[in-house]
């Protein structure tokens, strides 16, 4: 391994400060407001009277009393104690991409940032044009007839689909009979979860030796009770199901709808169209594939597209264009209603549009190739590292944009688990990797995703870090098992995270559970 012993030294900033609620000094202020001018009081009355009696707070808020620079310093320190999402983060299934500054600047322009969804559509023509034009781009990529952007993420888009499915079968008088949704154990758990939330029963297919469920399993699962199939392809083991067209046929023949969860779109962008494979609907995550920030769990957009046949059920409003003017179409009597307020995270749509235009059709095609190439380049190197194997090792076809690996051998040989390795990676300034969705089909899993953005040097550095940690596991496993050592915090105890008696999501809960101070 080229990297052993030559990795750059790294240490995170350690500030060891208390949480902000424990900081400050009685009476200290960040900003002192002037007394209210008499003329103002004369014009609008007593300031307190501006707030209705029932909304007025009786006690002062229990905020830390600090000066402005102290607050700035504290939050700067906190930001220094994170990896900042600017390291090499190959967090699989998340399709990590650089969020270009120019797109951020466009999103911050007043034409975007200072608009409001309740403005009259006559004053929003530019924004609506961008939304419509981006809809056209996604139609081109998918073959679908209409996209909506209301869903606040991938799971929300899956939920949109199960609601559309419900409305579709209801309109045909078949909802009582068609109460089952078929999915695979490798589909994102949100597929099963949203189906259950919409009142459907779930039929889950296990994987066959090929790494995807067999046609026979699908045939056995599908019946006149089938409402829809929710499936991704490739799944996050990186295995593409070549029988997918036949899958769709089988479900259609039984009377069900087919939804393509394009969570793993990156490797097949511009290579296939959901519609041409027969699907009725699909979903893209703009915060993954289309280059917008995903920040701390948001803001996200699940772009949901469907065929003309299903379009009447889409959530409102739908952005339409009559050749001259753009409209927010609310007059759709068969609509499922709203899955979220207003019309989605518009700044994210603007950034995705900007990303798509910058990439161009050729750029998107090349990005798909690069992401597959990057993954297979990494796979070759990773499988040379002692203790690392891949899922379905007997399959020798190239994987798509991701490969699922297993550290079962490393654990059997050394006792070091995939959690330990993830904890150790951050000692080299590398973001911890993604493991696998529950339930784990592969023991001790990890799943990197190279994407198109990282350089070969970045990928090599990432692999070198894994090689170093493997070497440590075989020679001095305690280093790995007790990691992290070079980070802002040491290894955290997992137990309190799983125990409702111990976890604390708010300061108030923390004080209650740990007695750090009496509630006032």
């Amino acid at each position: 391994m080229s990297g052993n012993g030559t990795l750059r030294n790294y240490h995170a900033a350690v500030w060891d400060e208390p949480v902000v609620m424990e900081m400050g000094h009685h009476g200290r202020r960040g900003m002192v407001f002037p007394d209210i001018d008499e003329a103002v009081t004369a014009a609008v009355g007593d300031s307190e009277s501006l707030i209705p009696e029932e909304m007025r707070r009786h006690d002062r808020p229990a905020l830390p009393e600090m000066s402005e620079p102290e607050v700035q310093r504290h939050y700067l320190h906190l930001s220094q104690e994170t990896l900042g999402m600017m390291g090499v983060s190959l967090f699989g299934t998340c399709t990590m991409k650089y969020n270009s500054r120019i797109n951020e600047l466009i999103g911050a322009r007043p034409e975007v940032a200072e608009t409001h969804p309740l403005q009259h559509e006559d004053t929003l023509q530019g924004t609506l044009e961008i939304i419509h034009n981006f809809d056209l781009i996604l139609r081109e990529l998918s073959g679908m007839d209409q996209f909506v952007f209301q869903a606040g993420g991938g799971a929300d888009a899956a939920y949109t689909h199960v609601c559309v499915t419900r409305a579709y079968h209801q309109a045909r008088g078949q909802l009582a009979q068609r109460n089952e949704i078929v999915t695979s154990i490798q589909a994102h758990p949100c597929n099963a979860a949203t189906a259950a939330a919409a009142g459907f029963k779930i039929v889950t297919l296990m994987l066959d030796d090929n790494g995807y469920p067999s046609l026979d399993a699908l045939k056995a699962a599908v019946s006149d009770r089938t409402a829809a199939l929710l499936i991704n392809n490739p799944d996050d083991m990186g295995i593409y199901n070549p029988d997918i067209k036949e899958w769709v046929n089988i479900v259609h023949e039984a009377g069900g709808l087919c939804f393509y969860d394009h969570a793993n779109f990156n490797g097949v962008m511009s290579k296939l169209r959901a519609r041409e494979l027969g699907f009725d609907a699909c979903m893209y995550m703009l915060h993954k594939t289309f280059g917008t920030p995903k920040a701390g769990g948001g803001p996200a957009v699940g772009a949901y597209g469907c065929t003309e046949e299903l379009a009447e059920f889409l959530p409102c409003p739908v952005v339409t264009f009559d050749g001259e003017t753009y409209h927010l179409d609310e007059d759709r009597p068969n609509s499922i209603g709203r899955v979220r307020e207003f019309w989605g995270n518009v700044p994210q749509i603007v950034k995705s549009y900007s990303w798509s235009r910058a990439m161009g059709a050729e750029g998107i095609c090349e990005a798909a190739d690069l992401s597959v190439l990057g993954n297979n380049y990494m796979e070759k190197r990773l499988l040379e590292i002692p203790g690392i194997t891949k899922s379905q090792p007997h399959l020798n076809k190239w994987r798509m944009e991701m490969t699922r690996y297993s550290l079962e051998k490393l654990k059997e040989d050394t006792g070091v688990t995939t959690f330990d390795v993830a904890n150790r990676m951050v000692d080299f300034g590398i973001d911890a990797y993604w493991l696998a969705h529950e339930p784990w089909l592969v023991p001790e899993p990890f799943t990197p995703e190279a994407g198109e953005m990282y350089s070969r040097e970045d990928l090599d550095h990432w692999v070198d870090v894994l090689a170093r940690i493997s070497h440590e596991a075989y020679t001095d496993p305690e280093i790995v098992k007790t990691a992290p050592h070079n980070q802002a915090i040491a290894k955290i105890k997992a137990e309190p995270l799983e125990d409702p008696e111990k976890w604390a999501m708010t300061w108030r809960a923390y004080k209650r559970k740990y007695g750090a101070g009496k509630e006032t």
């Binding site: 039929v203 030796d209 997992a494 137990e495």
Partner: protein
């Protein structure tokens, strides 16, 4: 604080396998195995298990029997065992295993780590029941029981981590103790029995990462399924409830005390037969529409033919293959060694009818399509 662990090695376990003898129960078989050139491997495996674990020296007290029942191996692995008994002169047998387990139970060990197969597990279980947790180092030929770790090293590590305590994610679970009568099997007659449920350390994965789903354990889902199924039971339909802890939940929701290891019959919310034999079932079925609710038995994933032979081919045919409801935790299905459920009803036509794909209920409104094959 000192932790006490018992080590029992069944030195002859696993010897029959490589020479095709399906186990080493009985002295004549053992002699035959030796004559065929079988080599003892239980001690090698036990040593690998002990060597893999990082024991907390000074606080660990390892109790074992003399010589090849544990002492030799423990010493080789660099530990200092306390010898608490001896096997009879010559070969050790089931009686020695039980004697060792009894001596350990009396000395309040926190865990018994053993190297052996189903027979060894059963001999220990019959002494300790659920009083002391056990963990098997896989060694034997027959391993239908679910008390074994995946390999020797993982057995050693899991044992050490469990004993050290305080490790998040290590808990205790019920696991089947099963055994097949080797005499019968050598005559090509399978007679597997579910003997009970031992307490076994297992690794619950600690969920620390943002994208992982919140942890609803398969067990909680099964509990909800039990409640759901109990509520949906039809009037005047006879329910045959198979053995095991999964189906037991259903009976609990009905307010009934079933037989954990046997087959029970429920009609209109009442247990009409407990621990039924095949003949009892056939008699009870007379004149009734019926359903069978069955779990997945043992580590091998048997649906019928191991541990629930009372639900015979005749009973299944009489009820009808469309009237089966199989319940299991998702985790158990994922861990199936062959990705398939197995049937061995003794009636090859019925086995063929049951083969193919079957829906297994894993929670309320949730099923999983599983391949079923003849064993």
């Amino acid at each position: 604080m000192t932790v006490r662990v018992g080590l029992i090695v069944n030195p002859i376990a696993g010897m029959g396998g490589k020479v095709g003898l399906k186990g080493t129960d009985g002295e004549a078989t053992l002699d035959k195995a030796r004559a065929l050139g079988a080599e003892p491997l239980a001690n090698t495996r036990a040593e690998a298990a002990l060597a893999a674990a990082s024991w907390q020296r000074g606080t660990l007290e390892l109790l074992t029997f003399a010589g090849d029942m544990g002492e030799t191996t423990a010493t080789k692995a660099g530990l200092e065992p306390t010898v608490i008994g001896n096997s009879r002169a010559g070969a050790s047998d089931a009686g020695d295993t039980a004697a060792a387990a009894r001596a350990m139970l009396e000395r309040d060990v926190g865990l018994i780590l053993f190297a052996g197969g189903d027979g060894t597990a059963r001999d220990i279980f019959q002494v300790i029941g659920q009083e002391v947790p056990v963990l098997g180092i896989p060694t034997g030929v027959k391993m239908h029981s679910a008390v074994f770790a995946t390999g020797p090293a993982s057995a050693g590590r899991l044992a050490a981590e469990y004993l050290r305590g305080g490790t998040a994610g290590i808990g205790l679970a019920d696991a089947e103790i099963m055994d097949i009568d080797e005499e019968e099997q050598r005559r090509n007659r399978l007679s597997a029995k579910l003997f009970g449920y031992a307490r076994v350390p297992f690794e619950r994965r600690a969920l620390q990462y943002a994208k992982a789903a919140s942890h609803v354990s398969g067990q909680a889902k099964l509990d909800a399924l039990g409640r759901d199924t109990a509520a949906g039971m039809e009037q005047d339909v006879l329910y045959i409830i198979g053995p095991g802890s999964t189906t037991q939940r259903l009976l609990q929701h009905l307010g009934l005390e079933g037989s954990l290891l046997g087959v029970d019959v429920v009609l209109n919310g009442k247990a009409v037969v407990r621990d039924a034999s095949e003949a009892d079932l056939l008699q009870a079925l007379d004149g009734h529409e019926a359903r069978i609710i069955s779990g997945v038995i043992g580590g091998q994933g048997f649906l019928f033919g191991r541990g629930n032979q009372q639900i015979s081919a005749g009973v299944i045919r009489r009820v009808g293959v469309d009237n089966l409801m199989v319940v299991a935790a998702v985790e158990k299905l994922i861990a199936l060694p062959t990705n398939r459920l197995l049937v061995d009803t003794g009636d090859s036509d019925l086995d063929a009818d049951l083969s193919g794909f079957m829906r297994v209920h894993t929670g309320p409104g949730e099923t999983m399509m599983l391949a079923v094959a003849a064993a």
